[in-house]
């Protein structure tokens, strides 16, 4: 059975939980004492992932780190219809937005770790970079809307949407509202309506 090393408050782990739920896959959840225990930095976890990060997915002998890589693996292995990761002209665009989700958008994660768990980092820079990333995504979704597009890539939800959703939806945890990002607001409502959608603490119910 799939085994996910998981932390309930991690947006990156939530990406994986969300896709697992949407694909209706059973899995074993191993809770990691990320805070305050820093168990992800223990010898056991360094052996699973030398980067000392979660999520980690075990699929038989395969051990995968990096939320984006895990999303791609799950879509590749468990979505025979190839809806979540189409192998056509959309593929490259999906990869591009996966990189964005694991790159620029992670400024929101850093700001959240500061505001929520007291991590010491340059919060003003993190928030400014978070706002920039939200602006890029909002502009993209607004452009897509003009063409009638409702999702980040193509006419249906893909793992690009799943990868981008968590830290956008959790941005309230670091004091960034969505007032300035109307296209994001509409898009996240669509994500929330996906059959099988699961939420996590910190994602507001009232949008």
């Amino acid at each position: 059975m799939l085994k996910l090393h998981d932390y309930v408050l991690s947006g990156s782990c939530y990406k994986v939980r969300l896709l697992l739920a949407l694909l209706r896959l059973d899995y074993e959840r191993v809770p990691v004492d990320f805070h305050p225990g820093r168990q992800h930095k223990s010898a056991v976890y360094f052996a699973l992932n030398p980067l000392g990060q979660i999520p980690i997915l075990e699929d038989g002998p395969l051990v995968l780190r990096d939320a984006q890589a895990i999303l791609a693996h799950l879509a590749n292995a468990y979505d025979p219809d190839k809806n979540w990761l189409p192998r056509d002209g959309r593929f490259g665009l999906i990869m591009m937005w996966l990189s964005f989700a694991g790159g620029e958008l992670m400024a929101l994660s850093a700001a959240r770790m500061h505001d929520m768990l007291g991590y010491e980092l340059d919060i003003e820079t993190a928030r400014a970079n978070g706002r920039k990333a939200l602006r890029i995504l909002d502009d993209h979704l607004a452009d897509r809307g003009i063409d009638g597009g409702q999702w980040i890539v193509g006419d249906a939800p893909t793992i690009a949407d799943i990868a981008c959703f968590p830290y956008v939806a959790l941005s309230h945890d670091c004091g960034l509202g969505h007032e300035d990002y109307p296209a994001i607001n509409l898009w996240q409502r669509r994500v929330r309506k996906l059959p099988g959608f699961v939420s996590m603490p910190g994602i507001p119910d009232y949008f």
Binding site: Y7, V8, P31, P36, M116, G202
Partner: protein
């Protein structure tokens, strides 16, 4: 903001963290009631000093580091469960909340939000009623107790298999920023689990919550128990951060309680008697007044 002058807030013992939050041989900054502090740890020795280098009183109690900026009239409150040998202390990890510490405590006392904020965990929307319970101020120890609280809970704790009618008691000890609850555990119905929330008021509208448990649970791992508590607390956090006004109003007519809010009514009355100002909203002119 500089250190508060509010004597009712200053003259209390506060938690700066679980002992394990301070690695040995480290120096770490902390903030309490608007004052910048330095915590030094050498082995099992702790030292806390303030902005001008003055040493503050330090206590190690219940696995946490305590200090005070004032002159507390009472010692750190009694937690007899700490000495019960079959209980396991679980340090659930400090969480920052952009809200008044008094709002954080009041939310911890509230039963009515369970079905809506902790849906299908600590409550269910089909059973939202708060049954009548009792609240009293125990003058001899200066504590507020809410007793005979009952709530139907689909998943009352990390170890719960199904729903149960949970019994609760709440206790705010002499310091209004320290609150505990006693709750029937799924695994030992004739005992009480203890869950404490030690709030470190940083600014009037910024708090660090230190959740702590003394559980009777031989099945759940620490990671499972911590994950459960953090999930619950982070569901509260987003609500707390969106409450307006951010500071707790004590003025009549500013917020309207119902019968289920009796613990809040008594808590606020007690805060008024203490004349506490840190984290309390200044009176405003009400339109209908």
């Amino acid at each position: 903001m500089a250190r508060t002058t509010d004597k009712a807030a200053l003259d209390n013992w506060y938690v700066l963290g679980a002992l394990g939050d301070f690695p040995t041989h480290t120096v770490k900054g902390a903030r309490l009631l608007g004052a910048d502090l330095i915590v030094r740890r050498a082995g099992v020795q702790f030292q806390v000093s303030d902005e001008v280098g003055a040493k503050l009183p330090v206590e190690q109690r219940y696995g946490h580091l305590w200090t005070t900026l004032g002159a507390p009239t009472r010692p750190i409150f009694a937690m007899p469960e700490w000495d019960e040998p079959d209980r396991r202390p679980v340090y659930c990890g400090a969480v920052r909340v952009r809200a008044s510490g008094l709002r954080v405590v009041e939310n911890f006392l509230d039963l009515a939000h369970f079905p809506y904020v902790h849906t299908d965990i600590l409550g269910t929307e089909s059973k939202p009623e708060v049954a009548r319970y009792q609240v009293e101020h125990r003058a001899d120890v200066d504590e507020v107790w809410a007793t005979k609280c009952e709530f139907f809970q689909p998943k009352a704790a990390a170890s719960a298999d199904g729903g149960q009618m949970s019994q609760y008691m709440y206790r705010v000890v002499a310091n209004p920023f320290l609150v505990m609850l006693y709750k029937t555990p799924p695994t030992a119905p004739n005992r009480w689990d203890v869950i404490a929330l030690f709030v470190q008021p940083v600014e009037e509208d910024l708090s660090i919550a230190h959740p702590f448990m003394l559980v009777i649970d031989e099945t759940s791992s620490d990671a499972e128990l911590i994950a459960f508590q953090q999930m619950i607390f982070l569901q509260d956090r987003i609500v707390l951060e969106n409450q307006r006004p951010r500071l707790l109003p004590l003025q009549p007519g500013r917020e309207t309680p119902t019968r289920g809010d009796l613990s809040s009514v008594i808590y606020r009355r007690w805060l008024k008697e203490k004349n506490i100002r840190f984290g309390v909203e200044e009176p405003v002119r009400l339109a209908h007044a």
